[in-house]
């Protein structure tokens, strides 16, 4: 089972690949849209890549609830649990 920090690091790598955001900026309290400038379509790409990376399912209805990096990490942790 991956630790919270491992999930954050892997997620940061995905956000970097999809949206070109510096991975070091992808911290738990950051909002994808407001702080990291990840637009809604890029967010979909992040979600699809995260599903593959973490072996979880993130339904359409959940995507809009993932406002911050912390929200996404928490969801992935629960889904893996």
């Amino acid at each position: 089972m991956a630790s919270t920090e491992e999930i954050r690091t892997d997620l940061a790598e995905i956000v970097n690949e999809v949206a070109g955001v510096d991975a070091d900026d992808v911290q738990m309290d950051k909002s994808f849209v407001d702080d990291l400038d990840v637009d809604s379509l890029s967010m979909v790409e992040v979600v699809v890549a995260a599903e593959e990376k973490f072996g979880v399912s993130i339904p359409d209805d959940e995507v809009k609830n993932l406002k911050t990096v912390g929200d996404a990490v928490a969801f992935i942790e629960r889904a893996q649990g």
Binding site: D39, V44, E45, V48, D60
Partner: protein, 354 residues
């Protein structure tokens, strides 16, 4: 005695044989036509009502301009213009057409079909004529039906039209649709050929997700004459709505798999392709599909959306026509077509360029 008296005639029920239809041969696209409405609409002309910018629209969709039809550029008029070009390019007279299929969701009269009207205006009467409601997938549905007709022998030449006047269904204050949809018509002649020119179709639907792209409310059966149209929504409530995120995800990722299955069904790989012509939904969907497919650099990717917007059923034939006109497509090229949209519905096939 209450059984019928059969001694009176020689007739034995069900004993006669049906002569089967003549079977056809292979089918190909013989000609392509397009009609692009006169009125060019820039992003700047739309941004105020959706509190947006040209840059925002470009980054979300790749759309720079689109065309909206004027009053005289009706669904039928645009279709007839595109069809005449397709007929001329294919060297086919309207009188040779056996069937006319029109894919559209924006002919605002439910019955009769606009196909019958177009058939008459082209001088193709008494060709069979009907409309197809498969939204953005409509043109590829039509090509599949037409190819099957030619191969089965129920028609020798079929005209397939994809046409939309989505500006009639647009809420220009809706940030998720106002800048995307547009108007136009494209047409293809499907007819007999020595070699197979239209590969197997991979198609399907998913009605569980019927509400992701939809007309907001049905046409009123008995409209209230006192009803005031919403001034911010210039066509009242009968507008298109779209759930952008889920549609983007479905189109970008699930449709790439359908495209891959289509290549497999056709016995081809991406290396065999010359052209990739997806429904012009959003440039970012096109880019993601191209990446997922692993298209090699020699494959030309249709990007008509930049100038034309998303014209739903018209987008694939319009994009094909542009590739021919700008010299990117050559006769004999293999093109992978894939179209997808409301329903949800999708269809894909490989075709050889006329």
């Amino acid at each position: 005695m209450n059984t019928p008296d059969t001694t009176a005639s020689e007739h034995t029920r069900g004993s006669s044989r049906i002569t089967p239809p003549t079977t056809g041969g292979e089918a190909s696209i013989l000609g392509l036509g397009a009609y692009r409405p006169r009125r060019l609409v820039s992003n700047e002309q739309l941004v105020e009502r959706i509190d947006s910018t040209d840059q925002w629209i470009r980054s979300r969709s790749g759309i720079v301009t689109r065309r909206f039809a004027d009053e005289d550029e009706t669904v039928a008029a645009m279709s007839v213009a595109a069809s005449r070009q397709a007929l001329a390019e294919g060297g086919i007279d309207a009188g040779q057409l056996d069937c006319v299929i029109v894919a559209t969701v924006s002919h605002l009269l439910q019955t009769p079909s606009v196909a019958a009207q177009i058939t008459h205006e082209l001088g193709a009467t008494p060709a069979a004529a009907f409309d197809v409601s498969a939204a953005c997938a409509g043109f590829c549905y039509g090509v599949s039906l037409a190819a099957d007709m030619v191969r089965a022998g129920s028609a020798r030449h079929v005209l397939v039209i994809g046409v939309e006047r989505l500006s009639d269904l647009l809420d220009l204050t809706d940030r998720s649709t106002a800048f995307i949809f547009a108007d136009g018509a494209g047409a293809a002649i499907v007819g007999p050929s020595d070699e197979p020119g239209i590969g197997p179709v991979v198609w399907g639907s998913d009605g569980e997700r019927f509400d992701l792209i939809r007309q907001e409310t049905p046409w009123p059966v008995d409209p209230d004459p006192g009803e005031e149209p919403d001034p911010d929504s210039h066509k009242g409530a009968h507008v298109l709505r779209m759930e952008g995120g889920p549609v983007f995800r479905w189109a970008s990722f699930e449709m790439a798999k359908v495209a891959q299955r289509t290549l497999e069904a056709t016995g081809l790989t991406v290396d065999d392709l010359d052209l990739f012509v997806p429904h012009q939904a959003n440039m970012r969907i096109t880019d993601l599909m191209a990446r997922a497919l692993g298209l090699p650099p020699h494959v030309v990717i249709a990007r008509d959306i930049a100038e034309q917007g998303n014209t739903s059923a018209a987008s694939v034939p319009l994009a094909l026509r542009r590739l021919v006109d700008d010299g990117s497509a050559h006769s004999g090229d293999l093109a992978l077509l894939i179209a997808f949209g409301a329903g949800l519905a999708y269809a894909a096939q490989v075709v050889r360029m006329p």
